[in-house]
Symmetry: C2
Subunit: 441 residues, 2 copies
């Protein structure tokens, strides 16, 4: 049994490791265009921001470790096409290579802004670590930067650029940062924090083009005027890198990602897909989603790898607990906020609580706001939104399971909570928010 994987990110390596775990006798070959696998691209903004002292620290494993695990990784190798009939792929420099099972883990790209000047020097898509090492040197020469749209990595780049003393203008067509996933009241402390730090925030405004001199970026033009800059960070949304699949005749879904069944199998029975190139249904709305986190990609890879190697695992619909650092705050949530739920026409009531993370007198205590969205008929959670100083990730994970298992809001309203001054307050904000929702219902 030979499993061929295209892509060396979290999904692709998840596939290879899980396939070997399922059946050590399978042959696993991974093709990647890049020089490296097994590093954390999510860490790049924090090296740029100098919270992390070196790109080397982002590498998880050495190339030798994969050799020892019996995973054959072909670096800097481009796969040019897939032939489903002969179960083979065309590899640049290697010719046609056959497979028993193929797993597509081809990842994502930034949606390219459809404006003139995107080929200028100085336009940065934060993604690849080798490129980031070069860009890091370039950042030392930058005085003014534009961040185009406020995707998650862009949000982190705003902070990173400020940490380096670079003047930042954020230009976003939305009415507030990350408007597609977060509510304005929840992101307000982040906006205020950036404003206080001197970031030029331009919402409801679009970049209309990039202008340069001698091939080098000198300013961005927007729907309201020019912004001088030596750097533009592209923070547009993720699109599935599904060109190979489409060309081979594999079915894509409504997001443009590869359509898969709950075993991560594509429209071809010998081909699986996992990670940002695939789409997966949302647990509340059943709408397909694409472009989630590295942990989602890894989990999908494991499912695809186990199934490709002859096992059987089902991937559940997702509720998407998420969280991140934004300015001096942590933001996060699960599934829908008010904005998105309203747009989707989902009925809901909200429960909001402003709490604290430790006893009010204990050093390091931080504020935290929890907003819960509850379906008034089922009394189940359909989403959550949070901002605070600590404990956002753990609460988002918790509420992800609450949403998935359908814990009634009434149960959450009477939850027990740890109270110990140094680590938790008398009243847990999740319980308080649930109580507020119950009072409305």
């Amino acid at each position: 049994m030979k499993i061929v994987v295209i892509g060396g990110g979290a999904a692709g390596l998840g596939v290879a490791g899980a396939a070997k775990g399922q059946d050590p006798s399978v042959e696993t070959v991974v093709y990647t265009e890049f020089e490296d696998v097994a590093y954390s691209p999510c860490g790049i903004p924090f090296v740029h921001g100098k919270e992390i002292d070196s790109f080397e620290r982002l590498f998880l494993a050495t190339k030798e470790q994969y050799v020892q695990q019996g995973i054959d990784v072909h670096y800097e190798t481009t796969v040019e096409s897939i032939d489903l009939k002969s179960k083979s792929i065309q590899v640049k420099g290697e010719g046609w290579v056959t497979y028993d099972r193929l797993v597509l883990a081809t990842g994502w790209d930034y949606a390219t802004p459809d404006v003139p000047g995107t080929d200028l020097e100085g336009i940065y898509h934060v993604k690849n670590i080798r490129a980031a090492m070069e860009w890091d040197k370039y950042l030392d020469t930058v005085r003014q930067a534009v961040v185009v749209e406020s995707g998650p990595i862009a949000m982190e780049m705003v902070s990173a650029l400020r940490h380096r003393g670079i003047e930042v203008t954020l230009v976003d067509p939305g009415p507030w940062p990350m408007a597609d996933v977060i509510d304005p009241d929840i992101v307000e402390p982040v906006r205020a924090d950036w404003e206080a730090d001197g970031v030029d925030l331009r919402f409801n405004e679009k970049v209309t083009g990039f202008v340069g001199k001698g091939g080098k970026l000198t300013h961005a033009t927007t729907s309201f005027g020019d912004v001088p800059c030596q750097l533009a960070v592209i923070g547009s949304h993720k699109v599935a890198n599904a060109g190979l699949a489409r060309a081979a005749g594999i079915k894509l879904g409504s997001t443009g990602g590869i359509a898969v069944d709950p075993q991560m199998r594509t429209s071809d029975p010998h081909v699986y897909a996992a990670g940002d190139c695939a789409e997966i249904p949302h647990g509340v709305s059943n709408v397909p989603l694409q472009g989630l986190s590295g942990s989602h990609a890894y989990a999908q890879g494991k499912t695809a790898g186990i199934n490709a190697a002859g096992g059987r695992r089902t991937h559940n619909p997702v509720y998407v607990p998420w969280g991140m650092l934004a300015g001096q705050w942590m933001i996060g949530g699960v599934s829908f906020g008010e904005t998105l739920a309203t747009a989707l026409g989902l009925p809901f009531v909200t429960g909001v609580a402003n709490g604290i993370t430790r006893a009010r007198y204990y050093p390091g205590v931080k504020p935290i706001t929890v907003k819960l969205l509850v379906d008034p008929r089922s009394r189940r959670l359909i989403g959550a939104q949070m901002v605070g100083g600590e404990g956002i990730k753990e609460r988002a994970d918790f509420l992800g399971i609450v949403a998935r298992t359908g814990v009634p809001i009434d149960t959450l309203a009477t939850m027990e909570n740890v109270y110990s001054p140094a680590i938790g307050a008398l009243n847990e904000p999740i319980a308080m928010a649930a109580q507020a929702a119950v009072a409305k219902l």
Copy 2:
């Protein structure tokens, strides 16, 4: 309707506030022996340890605030007896006072070690804030201290005394710290931390008496020898302060706490009880428990207050998420560890994972160990034990709901988790521990 409350702690004030919330027309009178209500006794060890700069900061509300809420608090007032027939209580200096509903929130005391010398000066029961203010001055004169048994407050006092440069000997009849609630592998980092800090740790050893000179403590005698000390902190377990109830003929339970039904009503239909003086069933074993946290006391008080004022609320059995700072670590859990589950004869399999709290390269990343105990037949969680550098409280709250709602371990093994370098690792240790348990089942 007149509701009389005996006790001014978290439970008693929970009663008064909730009764007023349920029906603002009720008359609520609170009797307390002490000069103060509405402070956080749990903060006392941290003022002694100088993490918190003043006892004043532990006060939550002023006496005027209770007056404004219409809650009549009688300070420094002793209730001497209860007469159920005439529905009245005998108050020192006030005579007999009638009630329509009585709520007992008389709290707890330390079990007094049955050894000679407990009346010597220098023996400290950490509980009351005014006493703590005096003891704080005394601590400046102390060079050597003995901590007798490792209850939660005693654990915090070990750290507090070390922060003040006092030599500490911990004498505990158990085989490791807090042996009744925590497993040895989980508490080992705390033990090692204290050992490295020079704490003289004596397990499987008992204090047999206190010896003094001129009425002042000079040393403790133990089953293995003498320990010179000017201070002994009593860390023995909590016992219910239920003497008034017992004398009145109200039924006590097997723990010595006041027996209550799910509405927190005692054996007398006009009398309720809440907090550490009452006992409440455990959700897994149905065994009654007594002596939980301040948030448990407050929640029980709210239930009793609502019901006493004519509402209807049911208190659920408890799963007891708990957590605290211990040395440089946070420890915590839910319900049972291996030690207690084994002692109770509960069948279980464990799943253990050693994880990290942020991306391994992100500043401030801390180790975290999660151990889950799963009933092999129902595949439900019966307990959890954790030690780590951050995020213990939030995970304990989460696992409390998992235990209460019976989320299967298989669901936990496939949980989604937030991955963002600054706030969470690729793999959530709860999910990893659940996967380890599933692999064994």
